[in-house]
Structure formats: structure tokens, C-alpha cells
């Protein structure tokens, strides 16, 4: 067994007599490239990016296998998706925005601190010492980077797959307007960015749960659950105006970007609502982590 290899005493004694080290600066701890390397080497990061890359191809295969809808039936998004690369990307975004992308964001943010706690590596980082607010900040920046990366990767791959499969025709919006291909590409990427901002509240919920629990699954699941509950409440029309305060209420507002003249109304409201929730929950996450006893 390798375990039986003898322990060498080495030259520690002589070195220990040297001068004490002085190179610590709080502002240099947990550099972004180090945190990025720590996260990129994780299987869940690779699987997530793999899935987001493969999803458009799966959609394309599914569309190819499925029989086309009978003539005369109502046009739906699937029919529209087969029109052009832009339409295909819109479908991919629409199909994944309300759940898959929520899970992706919840995963990157909810798992980041809780998994360190579950591996016990969190206490060594904190004893290094990485200041707690800085740890949350650096981890949030990398989680945001990965989330936005996945959120942009999906439409980009969809555009490529869709353009190869269905050509670079006009993007036809839900309202029946046509946008030239490159305008459509710009709008789709803008829509992905809106979705990213709109999901910032999910990120904040996930981060709050992540610093509160040692179970990564609990943090991710809790954030996804919060999103689902919000979506269910949004279905209850009897709540009327109260629904406007639900963070998922303006989840589909990005469709307003896909017309000749952009409808900024719901987009602005959606950005405001999400940022509001994100600020409150994010501040709560840092406040809580700063004061928490790390017992994991």
C-alpha cells in the first residue's frame, strides 16, 4: 500500500529557524483566477456546460424525429423554431428559461460555499485567512461569471446549431414581426442578459442558503423551490397586483426585445424587481455569513 510509504522528516527544522513570512495581504486572498480554477475543475461545472452545449443538439434531433404538426393546427413555438436559426435560439431560451437556467444559476451559487463546508475545506480557507465578506464576494463573482457564461453559451450554441439546421433567415417574433438575422442575434443575446439579470434574485437566494447550510443539495434545491413557488403563486390570478412583486412575474418580459420596437416596460420592471430582491437577499447572505459560527 502506498499509505505505508515512510514519512520523511526533511529539512523542516532548519527552515523553521528562518525569518517569519510576511507576504499576507487580505486583498490578495482567494484571487478570482484561483477560485475559477477551483470551480472549473469540478465535475458539476463541466457537466453543466456540457449539458447547455448539448441541449440545442438534442432539441434539433427531437425536432427532426418528431412528425411535423398536422396542417391547419395552431402555430406554436415549436413550428416557429424550425423557421430559422434565430427562432430556434428563441425556442431554446424559452424552453429553458423558467427551469433549466434557474437550476444552473441555483447550482453555481447555491453549491459554491455549501460544498466547501461539506468538504471541510471552508474552515481552512477562512483560517488562511480569507475575510468572510471577501470569500462570499469572490465566490459570487465566479458563480456569476459561470452563470452568465452558461446563459450566453445556450443561445450562442443554439444560434449555431439552428443556423446550420434551419438557415439564417429572419427571426420571426411571437408577435409576428420579422427581424433581420444579425439584429435578431443581438436581441437574443440581449434577452439572455436580461434573463441573467432577472435570475439575480435566484442567485441571491441560493447564496443565502449556501452560507446557511452545509448541504449543497439543500441550498440548490431550496433556491429552485423558491423559484417554483413564486411561479405557482404567479398562476393564481386572484392575487392580482400582488403578483407584480413576485420575482418571477416578469420572467418572460424578454420577448419584448424581439420586436421592431423594443417594449422596455416589463423589462424595466423585471430588472428592478429582481435587483431589489437580489440586493436584500444578497446583503442578508453576507450579513449572516459574517456573523456565523463555522462548525462544519
Amino acid at each position: 500500500m502506498i499509505d505505508d510509504a515512510p514519512t520523511h522528516t526533511g529539512t523542516v527544522g532548519e527552515l523553521a529557524a528562518g525569518p517569519p513570512p510576511t507576504g499576507y495581504r487580505p486583498g490578495r486572498t482567494l484571487p478570482l483566477r484561483v477560485e475559477l480554477a477551483r470551480q472549473l475543475k469540478r465535475r458539476r461545472t463541466q457537466v453543466t456546460f456540457g449539458l447547455v452545449t448539448v441541449l440545442p443538439i438534442i432539441l434539433w434531433v427531437a425536432f427532426s424525429l418528431a412528425a411535423s404538426s398536422p396542417p391547419g393546427s395552431a402555430t406554436n413555438l415549436v413550428d416557429l423554431a424550425k423557421g430559422s436559426g434565430g427562432n430556434f435560439a428563441v425556442f431554446a431560451l424559452f424552453a429553458s428559461a423558467s427551469f433549466l437556467l434557474v437550476v444552473v444559476v441555483a447550482l453555481f451559487f447555491g453549491d459554491t460555499v455549501a460544498s466547501e463546508a461539506s468538504w471541510s475545506s471552508l474552515r481552512y480557507l477562512l483560517a488562511a485567512p480569507v475575510p468572510r465578506a471577501r470569500l462570499v464576494r469572490q465566490k459570487a463573482i465566479i458563480a456569476a461569471l459561470l452563470s452568465v457564461g452558461a446563459l450566453l453559451l445556450l443561445p450562442v450554441v443554439s444560434l449555431v446549431v439552428g443556423s446550420l439546421a434551419y438557415g439564417t433567415g429572419d427571426l420571426v417574433s411571437i408577435t409576428g414581426e420579422s427581424l433581420p438575422f444579425w439584429t435578431g442575434v443581438g436581441r437574443i443575446l440581449l434577452a439572455a442578459l436580461y434573463i441573467a439579470v432577472n435570475l439575480s434574485w435566484v442567485a441571491a437566494v441560493a447564496m443565502l442558503l449556501s452560507v446557511s447550510t452545509d448541504a449543497p443539495l439543500g441550498a440548490v434545491g431550496g433556491a429552485v423551490m423558491a423559484s417554483i413557488v413564486s411561479q405557482i403563486l404567479d398562476q393564481i390570478t386572484a392575487l392580482e397586483d400582488l403578483r407584480n412583486y413576485l420575482p418571477t412575474h416578469y420572467g418572460t418580459a424578454w420577448f419584448g426585445l424581439l420586436s421592431g420596437q423594443v417594449d422596455w416596460g416589463d423589462i424595466t420592471r423585471g430588472v428592478f424587481g429582481s435587483l431589489m430582491w437580489a440586493l436584500v437577499l444578497g446583503a442578508l447572505a453576507i450579513w449572516r455569513f459574517e456573523r456565523k459560527d463555522i462548525t462544519s
Partner: protein, 909 residues
């Protein structure tokens, strides 16, 4: 100051939330509603009065202009309650009533007859003239507008035509000519060129729209209170209306008497007199009152120089009610022309473009397009049309005997629930052999067809085949996708009746197809279909064969406009975004200032001991006190053992020492600097506490490298090679940590703690999981580490471990320090000695008799005594002399005693 900052930020946040999330001004309380019955003359040919059931809605401020809100066919004043409340909230006095023959009003339905329903409404205007709440333009002339949908819309137009006191109207989805609505005829020979987008042919002698007519009639007929002496099938209709319907339904033809009756109920008779500014709202999904009806109203009223605005929305009798945008437009129209509030609404033209794509309830699938004018009205730009060539030879179509089976294109009366599906049904329900198809080339650019297309059709007999004198045909337009799927535009068809020459020569007529708004995608084409049957109409019942062709092409109107989104950037949320970002910035700056203040306060003392713990206590949530007043000092060069049984509080102390948990009381200083979460002095402490913590998917080497990189310190300070040597993992250092054994992880964790050669090394149970040679090597490492001038703190629950490894020891039990000193002192215990003998009692007696010896104790087979200077050998000799056999004699191991006592206590239940 910091608290103040935080409080004011919290306040700002709360205020921003309250202001920006405040519910839309719904503060206006529900308007006061007065119900009353108003008696009006029964009308020509009838004696006495009838009583109308009315409600008056009063706004917050009176006097105010009044609005009459008329209900649709089959409804009552209750069905317009919501609209009335909306308008009352806008500041209007609103009067609603159940029209005669409906609800709780008396009388019989005369179909918006000028003698009855319109006269009734005039009496209501008289009544408003007497009300102090209503603003008056003059004696007996209140400021009043009229609005209403369908039946109520026609009443608005008719009342404005008959009563000069009406100041503004907003009729919704209503008719211009009831003859054409119920007996449409869309074909005419030699029609003039199209000037307005949805101008209908309005030719005489049309085809009976039996589906809608039946629904219309039954809405007034049932439940009908059967009165003696009246026809029970007539319900609440007047005898004339009932007779006209009965005749039409049985013959399918429009008799002159019926035509005269319907004409009196048609706004077309009075539109040349309407001077009240008119907002015409018509639905694009409406097979009852199509866009051609509103087009006729617009043309006729605008010809008087009256301001007219036309709005087409995506709904109608087959779709849905107007959306908020349309309701707001009606409100703005009345605001301006009645209350003189706001700018004059543009007399332009807006239409909704629906894609028909279903993408869930939250995603709008229509957009509103605004054009500066309704083309073709006096003084506006002319209509733009495009001529498209049609391909398709003349085709033979068959009218089946009895007109059955018939194509189903619309489902009258089912409203939005199913009606809109009609267009999708058509392709599946068109009957083979009954229709001729002609199609255009594919569109190169996306085009929005706005209005009624026209096509010139030829119809002739087929020699040797049957056919009556007249052909009844149904023309329609469909959008054809590249894959062949087709969508019937507007879910509607244009019926026409044409006399076909008996000699076999063709008759040529121009058919006006249904008015629609349809976005045609590039690559799609249009198809014109001419069919022999349609379920919704009284078509031909005699078997016939016709030859149908087209000449010329298809003329389609388009209206250029700008898509307007319902919303531009809303101010409130935009400011809100700014406020949120500012608050975030303020929180960040505040946290930074606070951290800077905290870090600059600390001043290091070069002579301070590596670790000094004073009165440290920790009580966890739930009240458990793990540590209760622990004090000890670790000096430079010490290898200090923290000894205690499991649960003594050792790990809790170490956790606080690492800044992971906060002490409840007491203080920890390292090198003279206070230890807290994230304190920079922690960088001088290397720790291994409570087991290793590694990223399992990385190798041991990567873990150490990334850990060091995370400290942000120069790579040169790490001494990675030496640390790896201590770990002694050999080639395994490049395997995943997840695959390591417990001992390997332990050694890697100790190596991690020693990265950077910290001045204070803290190791918690370091020898757990190591085998004897490794333990020995570890001891050697620690001794040499301390010898180099650094300090080591080792915790253990094993006495022998501490004895062999440490120079000093602190014994803890139940959160308290029970012993503290050098290992030698505590082990040697001064002059105390222990003798293992065969006769303890006798030995105790012998020892007690020696000079200076005291504190003699018997403990099983052993005797302890304080020799106090007497050599141990002398004592042994004395014992042997006294006949006591001595098995062993040595220094008393007090530490062991104390420790065993503690552990023993712990193991007791």
C-alpha cells in the same frame, strides 16, 4: 456612526420599496351607485309607459360630464357594471340601464329601433338634464357621451344621429348596416376602386348569416316570459322583429319588409347627421360585425367633417373583449371631448397584428401598429394596395344536395373560448370537391395585409350538369406556409349570390374578401378559395356544379404604420433600479470603510507570546457551554499539549483560535494581536483542526497548490516541496484526494498546515490514523520545528502522546483547565513516589513511620507517598526490611492518575 449609516440605509431601502412598489393608484373608493327605475313612453302604437331599470354611478367630484353605457345583446345593466365603475373612477357620472326587453326593464325588444330603444335613450338624456350631479351645456342639454359594445354600440351611433345633445360617442364592435351584417353580399359587378382599407361591397340580396342570426334571436327569445296572447316562440321580441326573423330563418331570403325593418335599426341611416366626435372600435376576429361595418361608419361620419378615430383590436364577437389599451383609449377620448381634459386624441388609425402563435398566457402574441390616418377618409392619404397575380385554372366545384356536408369555418356564439379555433379548423373541415383554389406567389418580404382584399371571380355552368339560376358561393383568403399548412385569415368567409347565365357563358363579379389584419411571413403565400358551402350561412340546397375561375389578380390593401409598444421605459422602476444600485454602492463603501478602520487599529507587540488565552468561554445556541473560562499561554519554542478526554472542549478552543467561532466571553491574542474571524494574524498560524478538508476531485498536490494560491501569499513562502516531503505520499500525491485513505489525508492536512512554515502550528489529534513509524516521524518533525524557534500546539486525548511529544501540557476537562505546566513537572510530581507491593496496608504503615514521609495513600496494589527528600532507594530498603515485597518503585504519575480519573468519570453512565 456606523450604526447610523446602517439605519439610514435600511430606512432608504424601506422607503424606496414603499414608493416604488405602491399599488397602482387604486385609492379612489368605489363610486356611489344609485339604482332607480325611470318611466319612459311605451312608444308609437303602444299605450302608457314602460319602466327602465337604471343605475347611476357618481364620481368623487360633481357636477361632472355624464356617460351613457349601453349593454350588448342578451345582457343587462349588470353586464356593464365594470365599465361603468372604470368611467366613474375617471370622473364621469355614468348611467347604465337595461334596454327594453332585457333584464328587469319592461317592454319588448325592437332591435335598437329609433321609435323605441333610441327614444328611450333620449328620455334618459332628458333625465340626466334634471340631475344636479351632471354638468349642463344649456337648459335641458347635459354634457353627455355614449359608449357600448355591439347592440349598445349601434345604440350609441343611432342616438348620436337622432339626439343632437350627444357630445361624444365610442361605439364598440357594432354594425353600420344590419341588412349587410345579417344578409351579407360581397360580390358586385363593376365596383369602383377600393378607397378605404375594409370597404365592403354591401350589395343587395345577400346570403342569410343563419348561424349568428339564430344565436342573436335566441338570446332575446329565451327565457321568454310567455304572455297570454303572444307567440311563445317570440320571447321578448316585438311581433314585427319576430315575424321578420321567422321569415328569414325559414326562407333564407331577405324580404323587402324585413329589409325595411333592419334598415331603421341601422346607423347607416343617420351617420350623415352625426357630429359628435366618434371613436370606432372594431374587432379583427368577428364574423358577426366585420371590419367592413366599422369602415362604412368611419367613411360616412368622417364625410360630415366629424372627428373620427378607428381602432381595430385583436378580438371581437369570436375573440375577446377589448384589452386595457383600448379601454384607456376610450377613456381618453371621452376625457377630451366631454371633460375637456388632455390633448385631443390623434384621429389616426391603430390596428393589432396577431401572429396566432401560442406561447403561453404570459407572452403577448400581438402588437399594435399605429398609422397617422385611416386611409381614404376625406383629407387623408389614399389607400395603398398591392396587386398580386393568382395562379390556378378554372376549377369545377360541387354544391351537394341539401348543402350538406358543409365546411365549418367559424363557431358563432362560442366567443373566444372556441371561436378563434375556427380558422384552424377550416383546413380539416373543408369538404373535398367543394372549393376552387387559387394562389399567389410566395412573398419575398414579410407583409401585413390590412383590410379587405378583392378578387375578380368568374362563374359559369358546366354543360350537362345541374345548377339553379343562382350560385351561392363563399370566398375566403388563407395564408399558405411553405410546408403546406394553411390558416384561414380572420376565420371568416365572404358569401355571395350571383346569377349565372343559362347559356354557359361566365358571369364576372368582384368579390370583397373578409377584412383582416394578417402578417404574412416571407416565403408564405396567399390562397383564395371559392367554396360552395359554409355551415354558418344559408347556402344553396339544390345540387349544382359550377366552374369557378379568377381573372386579374388579388388586390390587397396595406396600411403602413409604426409598431407601438404599450410601454416605453416606465419612470418608477427605472428610478428604482438606480436607487437599488446606489444602495448597493453605499453598503459596499460602508463595509470598506469599516474594515479599514478595524484593520488599522491593531498594533503588533514583538515580544508578545505566540498565543495567550484569557477567560475564554463559549456557549452554543441552545445553552450548552463547551468552554467555561479557559486561560493559558503558549510561549515561543514550546510544544504544548492540550490534553483532555473527548468532549473536554479542546476542539472548541481551537475553533475559536482559528476565528471560525466567536467566543462568548474572554479573549485570544496571538503575537499580541487579537484573533477574530479573518484577522490578518491568522496568516501566522497554521492549523489542522477536526480532520482534513480537501477538494476531493483534485490531487493532493493540486489541493496544496490551490490552497496556497488562495492565501494570496508569494509562492516562495510556501515551501511546498518540504511540506510534500512531510506528507510522504510518494506518487500518490498526484492522485485524486477522494481516493486517499484516512491516514494519507491526515498527513496531507498536516502538510497543508505547515505550508509557509507558520510561527504557530496548531494540530488537532495529529497522530490519528497514522501507524507507529509515521507517528514516530511526526514527533521528530514537531520537535525539530519547535527547536527552530517556532511554536507548536498539539491537542490529544492520549496521555502517552502528549508525554512523548510535548514539552508543556494543559489538561482540560469539561470546559475547564484542570492542570497546566511542563510535562516533566506534572509527570514527576515533585517528590511523590509510587510503590507496587504485595501488602499495601503494611507498606503504608512502614512508609508512614519514615522520617519526613507524609501523605501516604493506598490505591489498590499501590501505595503513594510524598518522600520529601528521602531517597526512593531508602524507602525500598525499609519496605524490604519490613518484609514487604516490592514489585516496582517509581515517581508517582499524577498526570496519568488525574487523567484516568477524568476519563473514568466520563465513561460512567
Amino acid at each position: 456612526m456606523h450604526g447610523l449609516l446602517r439605519r439610514s440605509l435600511a430606512l432608504a431601502l424601506a422607503l424606496a420599496t414603499a414608493v416604488l412598489f405602491a399599488a397602482p393608484a387604486n385609492a379612489a373608493t368605489a363610486p356611489a351607485v344609485q339604482e332607480q327605475r325611470i318611466d319612459v313612453p311605451a312608444g308609437p302604437g303602444l299605450a302608457g309607459t314602460i319602466s327602465l331599470d337604471t343605475s347611476l354611478y357618481l364620481p368623487a367630484v360633481t357636477p361632472a360630464p355624464a356617460v351613457l353605457v349601453a349593454h350588448g345583446f342578451g345582457g343587462s345593466k349588470a353586464s356593464v357594471d365594470a365599465d361603468a365603475k372604470d368611467l366613474a373612477a375617471r370622473g364621469f357620472v355614468v348611467l347604465t340601464w337595461s334596454a327594453r326587453g332585457f333584464g328587469k326593464s319592461g317592454g319588448q325588444i325592437a332591435l335598437d329601433s329609433p321609435d323605441y330603444e333610441v327614444a328611450d335613450a333620449s328620455r334618459l338624456v332628458d333625465w340626466l338634464a334634471t340631475r344636479p350631479e351632471v354638468q349642463q351645456d344649456g337648459p335641458g342639454d347635459p354634457r353627455v357621451g355614449v359608449t357600448g359594445g355591439s347592440y349598445g354600440g349601434a345604440l350609441s351611433l343611432l342616438l348620436a344621429g337622432y339626439d343632437k345633445r350627444i357630445d361624444a360617442i365610442a361605439p364598440v364592435i357594432t354594425w353600420n348596416d344590419l341588412n349587410q351584417a345579417l344578409f351579407p353580399e360581397t360580390a358586385a359587378a363593376g365596383v369602383p376602386p377600393q378607397t378605404t382599407p375594409a370597404a365592403g361591397a354591401f350589395a343587395p340580396d345577400g346570403v342569410f348569416k343563419r348561424g349568428w342570426a339564430g344565436i342573436f334571436f335566441s338570446a332575446g327569445a329565451s327565457p321568454g316570459p310567455a304572455q297570454p296572447g303572444t307567440n311563445a316562440t317570440c320571447g321578448r321580441f316585438t311581433a314585427q322583429v319576430c315575424a321578420a326573423y321567422t321569415e328569414a330563418a325559414t326562407t333564407g331570403r331577405l324580404s323587402p319588409a324585413t329589409a325595411a325593418l333592419l334598415e331603421r335599426s341601422s346607423p347607416a341611416t343617420v351617420t350623415n347627421r352625426i357630429t359628435a366626435p366618434t371613436l370606432l372600435v372594431q374587432g379583427e376576429t368577428d364574423t358577426l360585425f366585420g371590419l367592413d361595418q366599422a369602415d362604412a361608419n368611419a367613411r360616412q361620419i368622417a364625410a360630415n367633417g366629424t372627428p373620427v378615430k378607428v381602432m381595430w383590436y385583436s378580438g371581437g364577437h369570436d375573440g375577446g373583449a377589448p384589452d386595457q389599451g383600448v379601454r384607456d383609449a376610450i377613456g381618453a377620448w371621452l376625457d377630451h371631448y366631454l371633460a375637456r381634459k388632455g390633448d385631443a386624441p390623434a384621429t389616426g388609425f391603430s390596428y393589432a397584428v396577431s401572429s396566432g402563435i401560442r406561447a403561453g398566457a404570459t407572452v403577448a402574441n400581438s402588437r399594435t401598429v399605429q398609422a397617422p390616418t385611416y386611409p381614404g377618409l376625406s383629407g387623408t392619404a389614399p389607400l395603398t394596395t398591392r396587386q398580386l397575380s393568382l395562379t390556378g385554372d378554372a376549377q369545377t366545384v360541387v354544391t351537394p344536395a341539401g348543402g350538406n356536408p358543409a365546411a365549418i369555418t367559424s363557431l358563432p356564439g362560442l366567443g373566444s373560448a372556441l371561436g378563434a379555433v375556427g380558422g384552424r379548423l377550416s383546413a380539416a373541415t373543408a369538404v373535398p370537391g367543394q372549393s376552387a383554389q387559387f394562389r399567389t406567389a410566395a412573398f419575398a418580404d414579410p407583409t401585413t395585409l390590412t383590410g379587405a382584399p378583392r378578387v375578380t371571380v368568374t362563374v359559369s355552368r358546366v354543360p350537362g350538369q345541374p345548377g339553379p339560376a343562382e350560385a351561392i358561393l363563399f370566398a375566403s383568403t388563407s395564408e399558405l406556409a411553405a410546408d403546406g399548412s394553411r390558416t384561414l385569415l380572420g376565420s371568416s368567409v365572404a358569401p355571395f349570390r350571383v346569377a349565372v347565365p343559362a347559356d354557359g357563358s361566365p358571369v364576372t363579379v368582384t368579390v370583397t374578401l373578409p377584412g383582416v389584419v394578417a402578417p404574412i411571413e416571407a416565403g408564405h403565400s396567399l390562397a383564395v378559395s371559392v367554396a360552395t358551402t359554409d355551415q354558418a350561412y344559408a347556402g344553396g340546397t339544390e345540387p349544382a356544379v359550377w366552374r369557378v375561375g379568377v381573372t386579374g389578380g388579388l388586390t390587397i390593401p396595406t396600411v403602413a404604420g409604426q409598431a407601438v409598444s404599450a410601454n416605453t421605459v416606465p419612470l418608477g422602476p427605472a428610478i428604482g433600479i438606480g436607487v437599488v444600485l446606489l444602495i448597493a454602492l453605499a453598503l459596499w463603501v460602508g463595509a470598506r470603510l469599516r474594515r479599514r478602520r478595524l484593520t488599522t487599529n491593531a498594533v503588533a507587540d514583538p515580544d508578545a507570546p505566540p498565543l495567550e488565552i484569557r477567560d475564554l468561554a463559549k456557549t452554543y445556541k441552545g445553552g450548552f457551554s463547551a468552554v467555561r473560562g479557559v486561560s493559558f499561554t503558549v510561549a515561543q519554542g514550546m510544544v504544548l499539549g492540550l490534553l483532555g478526554p473527548n468532549g473536554a472542549g479542546k476542539t472548541t478552543v481551537l475553533r475559536m483560535l482559528m476565528g471560525l467561532t466567536r467566543p462568548t466571553a474572554g479573549s485570544i491574542t496571538a503575537f499580541g494581536l487579537p484573533v477574530a474571524a479573518g484577522a490578518p494574524v491568522l496568516a501566522r498560524i497554521g492549523a489542522f483542526v477536526e480532520g482534513p478538508g480537501f477538494l476531493p476531485h483534485l490531487s493532493g498536490a493540486e489541493n496544496l497548490r490551490l490552497y496556497w494560491a488562495a492565501t494570496g501569499r508569494p509562492t516562495a513562502e510556501a515551501h511546498l516541496a518540504e511540506a510534500l516531503e512531510i506528507a510522504g505520499l510518494g506518487a500518490s500525491i498526484d492522485r485524486r484526494v477522494g481516493a486517499y485513505s484516512q491516514g494519507m489525508r491526515q498527513r496531507l492536512a498536516i502538510a497543508q498546515a505547515m505550508l509557509g512554515l507558520p510561527e504557530l502550528l496548531v494540530l488537532d489529534e495529529p497522530t490519528n490514523g497514522l501507524d507507529p513509524p509515521q507517528i514516530h516521524a511526526m514527533r521528530e518533525v514537531l520537535h525539530r520545528y519547535a527547536a527552530g524557534g517556532r511554536t507548536v500546539l498539539v491537542s490529544s486525548h492520549l496521555l502517552s502522546e502528549v508525554e512523548q511529544t510535548c514539552t508543556h501540557v494543559v489538561v482540560m476537562h469539561r470546559g475547564l483547565v484542570v492542570a497546566d505546566g511542563t510535562v516533566d513537572d506534572i509527570i514527576a510530581g515533585g517528590g511523590a513516589a509510587t510503590f507496587t507491593v504485595d501488602a499495601p496496608e503494611r507498606a503504608a504503615g512502614v512508609l508512614g513511620g519514615l522520617t519526613g514521609v507524609h501523605a501516604v495513600q493506598v490505591d489498590g496494589g499501590a501505595v503513594h507517598a510524598e518522600l520529601n527528600g528521602t531517597p526512593r532507594a531508602s524507602a525500598v530498603r525499609a519496605l524490604v526490611t519490613a518484609g514487604v515485597d516490592v514489585a516496582s518503585a517509581g515517581p508517582r504519575r499524577r498526570l496519568e492518575d488525574a487523567f484516568l480519573q477524568l476519563v473514568g468519570e466520563d465513561t460512567e453512565p
